[in-house]
Subunit: 198 residues, 2 copies
């Protein structure tokens, strides 16, 4: 609003949120100021707190304010199974959807030499140490099916093999309830190649 530089800079700042353009940012700013100032203050505090205190787990690299995240520190988890994912959001999705009880390695990205993202940036040195300890028997590769995701999966698969761990890849195919004519061609062709005995 030409009328209030503080309001204008709040609207501008809200645009750092993914999926928020200038119109939604405006709507958000007005909503907070007119109807939820308490929520705005709480959000302000939570943002600062999160940025200042949330770092990465020393073991699996996921986001956490602890030195070692709750999953890595949980004595009830299977310590011989390790699932490799690209982001902390994927850890959350797996935890919520599956009964998986093993551990994780969170890459926080994928191999992409052109962007300067090599094995070290993904903590693969740390992962290799974990593999070298001999404790891990199975590495589940759950990186995405993008080119970089596949390259990363391949790289980690080779690494796991040299340390004698079994490697598996999560299944890709037609989603449950998905209709064949609504599924993209890549997925459908992958589902055919990956067909199993019935």
């Amino acid at each position: 609003m030409s009328d209030s530089s503080l309001l204008a800079s709040l609207i501008e700042a809200l645009r750092c949120l993914p999926g928020v353009g200038s119109r939604s940012a405006q709507r958000m700013a007005f909503h907070l100021l007119e109807r939820d100032r308490e929520g705005a203050l709480r959000l302000s505090d939570r943002l600062r707190e999160a940025v200042e205190r949330i770092g990465h787990c020393k073991v699996c690299r996921t986001l956490t304010e602890l030195e070692i995240c709750r999953i890595c520190a949980d004595p009830g988890r299977q310590r011989d199974t390790l699932c490799v994912v690209e982001t902390p959001a994927e850890v959350l999705a797996i935890e919520q959807a599956t009964g998986y009880r093993g551990l994780y390695h969170v890459l926080m990205g994928r191999l992409s030499p052109l962007d300067g993202i090599g094995p070290e940036e993904l903590g693969l040195d740390r992962l290799e140490e974990r593999l070298a300890s001999g404790e891990i028997r199975e590495v589940i590769l759950a990186t995405n099916t993008t080119v970089e995701g596949e390259v990363t999966a391949h790289y980690i698969g080779e690494m796991a093999k040299t340390h004698g761990a079994r490697t598996t890849r999560i299944a890709h195919g037609v989603p449950l309830g998905g209709e064949l004519d609504h599924v993209d061609r890549g997925t459908l062709s992958h589902a055919f190649e990956g067909r199993r005995e019935y």
Copy 2:
């Protein structure tokens, strides 16, 4: 994430934003922590600053950190024309879309006795003072076409008349470029009733 209570409370806090459910909140939290911590800190500061310093203009009641907002304080604005709107967002919309150079009164709501919103809550005592000063010749009613919006417009229209000000209502009808068969019935019937000589 079960794994980080700070992350969980950031996700929860983000849900105070309009249109943000738990999934978007999650996506926003991960985005900020993984890719834009600087933006998150800036947003935290802007939120606190805005809540602590933005109040209402003493004259027109719009949101501003100033005692009297820039529009009310602008000597270049026509002081004999006053547009009545429900929210500061509508001031912004009018400023951006039209060449209107008069002043505003921002109701910050609409008459709704059942919700305990009477003339005082909408600053109509203050508006009456402005009308009584005799400076205002035209009051443009730009409240919405909801029942409460119309009741509010009627109430203010009567008030303006007793002070000898002309009252006008912005035109409602088929939007420019709108197709008749895509316009709701209320709008279409309103457009017919409000037809003009061609």
